[in-house]
Symmetry: C3
Subunit: 290 residues, 3 copies
């Protein structure tokens, strides 16, 4: 359905529908934000993540993502956002870019973490209806990004997995990752998932409520679009207030602790022992490939 590189994606889509248009300012090398709406009142944006090889959340990627989401948020014509990946073989997002955490200065680590916070605050607090069309594996930060959405549709492919597996790398999911997980699957599932760094197959993820629906791999985006249509029938103002009521306490916890959370991350990640854990993890990944 999607072609192999940025240019061809654009061409494919333009051929299919002349109603689609693009926020050119956010069409970059790292990802594409495609805004597809026939009328201002039914506007749905689709964010096609395309940052090979695995949509890692680098500082650059996060910065562009935040700018893109902020523009959509201010666009009265845009009421829904679908997040998906166009990588092949399929990965939704491999999560935070380890290279941003390894061998970097405290200042740079702090800057990176601030961008991670910003991404979460923008997505979890979005006024839009947000749907994750999870068409590939989604560990760690990729799982977090999915969890910020209002609804999660995952490809029913047992080769994919999703979860906050930070402890497996010797690092720790911060309190707001944890809070988002608790809000989704409850305290007990989160305790097990985070302590063991569990990655769930789609069927298991559905069972504990980590995703809401499984569909055949080639229908993920189509079902996400249909689902969005249903959500957009709800009176907008009432839905937004309701969403904010559900999520504000969780958002406020980070908003009032951003600086301390950054300091906490920086002092943890720059420890020798943690840097060593990260190096070992990267070497293990290399060996897996080889």
């Amino acid at each position: 359905m999607f072609c192999g590189n940025t240019l061809s994606v654009l061409l494919c889509v333009l051929i299919k529908s002349r109603n689609l248009f693009y926020l050119s300012s956010v069409r970059t090398t790292t990802f594409i934000l495609k805004m597809s709406n026939s009328s201002p009142s039914t506007g749905v944006a689709v964010m096609h993540m395309q940052s090979p090889p695995v949509n890692s959340l680098s500082l650059d990627f996060l910065t562009e993502l935040c700018i893109g989401v902020e523009k959509l948020e201010m666009d009265k014509g845009c009421r829904g956002l679908i997040i998906t990946s166009v990588l092949s073989p399929k990965v939704f997002s491999a999560g935070l870019d380890i290279l941003e955490m390894y061998g970097k200065s405290p200042e740079r680590c702090g800057e990176f973490w601030k961008a991670v916070q910003e991404m979460w605050l923008k997505l979890y607090g979005s006024n839009m209806t947000t749907i994750a069309a999870i068409n590939g594996s989604s560990p760690a930060g990729g799982c977090l990004m999915s969890l910020t959405c209002d609804y999660r549709i995952m490809a029913d492919n047992p080769r994919y997995s999703i979860g906050l597996n930070e402890t497996q790398l010797g690092i720790v999911a911060p309190f707001w990752f944890k809070d988002t997980m608790v809000n989704t699957v409850g305290h007990r599932n989160t305790e097990l998932a985070l302590q063991l760094g569990l990655l769930y197959k789609p069927a298991e993820a559905l069972k504990i409520g980590l995703v809401d629906q499984l569909v055949p791999e080639d229908q993920v985006l189509a079902v996400a679009t249909q689902t969005m249509t249903k959500w957009l029938t709800i009176p907008e103002h009432a839905r937004q207030i309701t969403k904010s009521m559900m999520r504000k306490p969780t958002l406020d916890k980070l908003r009032s602790n951003r600086e301390a959370d950054i300091q906490n991350f920086v002092s943890f990640i720059t420890k020798d022992s943690i840097q060593k854990s990260l190096r070992m993890y990267m070497e293990m990944l290399k060996q897996k490939k080889a």
Copy 2:
């Protein structure tokens, strides 16, 4: 089983059992409180809601209900309360009376909202064991009323539904509706249910824990009565303290914010846009009937 109007209900019951007696002060045109107990220590009251056509929670209805519950609460002989409907075709309660929110003065809206709060505080905080015998549809405020009870038994009839569907009307369930829902079905189910204003069929409601048990329609009250018997075997004092421990934090949140919550409701509901939403909803209901 129940006859078609207030007078016949009374007659039917008196014929069946001479042990039953009535709190005449709360036998009104809007509803009947039937107190059935053979001995003071096993007293169970049954509140038969009968306010045609759909047991809407009007200011009058709520006021009478609160007076009735308060009397039962002070009656040492009464330890359990079953809430059910005697309307035919069956509706448990259609929830808050829209007519109390449409075209009314801010003062009147505030008075109404205070009565809704009072109903919730009295029922959710009741020392009695409370069981909802849900023998009909139970949207919005009707669902809230069910959620205040210790146990929910619903008629297994797929024509009935239950849920907090406020957003569908363009209005918003307040934080204490939300808290009660979260306490019952968890954060994630509540987020989905409230944003989309979902109404659940009995089987779906059972699945997410919105009701505790489904029974054939003609056995709802009988099973409620049997269930009550089981609850009343638990040492009373210990059960009351336990119930209070579970619910007090949620009750206190409203108790310490009643006035602000009323102001919030009044300023929201009297907005032109919301009044317009309500008018559209009422017109849609009329068209459905026609």
Copy 3:
């Protein structure tokens, strides 16, 4: 598998494995702490509770347990703790010793309650991975002890049950029992379980998440040991921080209210009406036996 008295247990084990050793200071008449580790980095302690007839949590038992757990906590070589029972017929633990609450002075009751608090604080806040190998019934305080663990494996024997059944005795599970239960099975299940003092059969306990896994009775300890091996592969520091993040708010609630909680317990338990309830319960137990 286990022999009938303390001495034979020790002999049996010593014959089976020369790698096992014992913390002699905590090998007492009430229970045995067996520390089985082949190397300091993979150390797992197994606490075999053996206080006939039903592993009641007396003041002595609790005191010794806390000393034992504290020693393990300080032992860098010990990373995991499995709690199980060696009684036959099988009871995991019958919970708090009623004799410590009946006919005792307020001072003694306060001392007892402080020890119950200490047990919970030590186990729920343990840095070790803790697994409950529930090879028998586990009511009240026995259930609480299980709930403090990171994972619960129960014998799939329908004669066994588990739950916080305090209200059945006319007493009340304190807020931190409740909090631990809510963290495990959620608010609604806890509301039902605590109000009714429900004891769950293994299959029911699994269904609501009160235990994590059922296994044939003779495999409980073996599966617990295998499970522990899996947990110990997780980087230790990251797992400990994660566990603390999940449990600290719950632990802090009691830590900052210990004295008030003790006063509350003492004034409740020394009431004439509660003492009468306890006497009636003990007489009922005697009649059951006879």
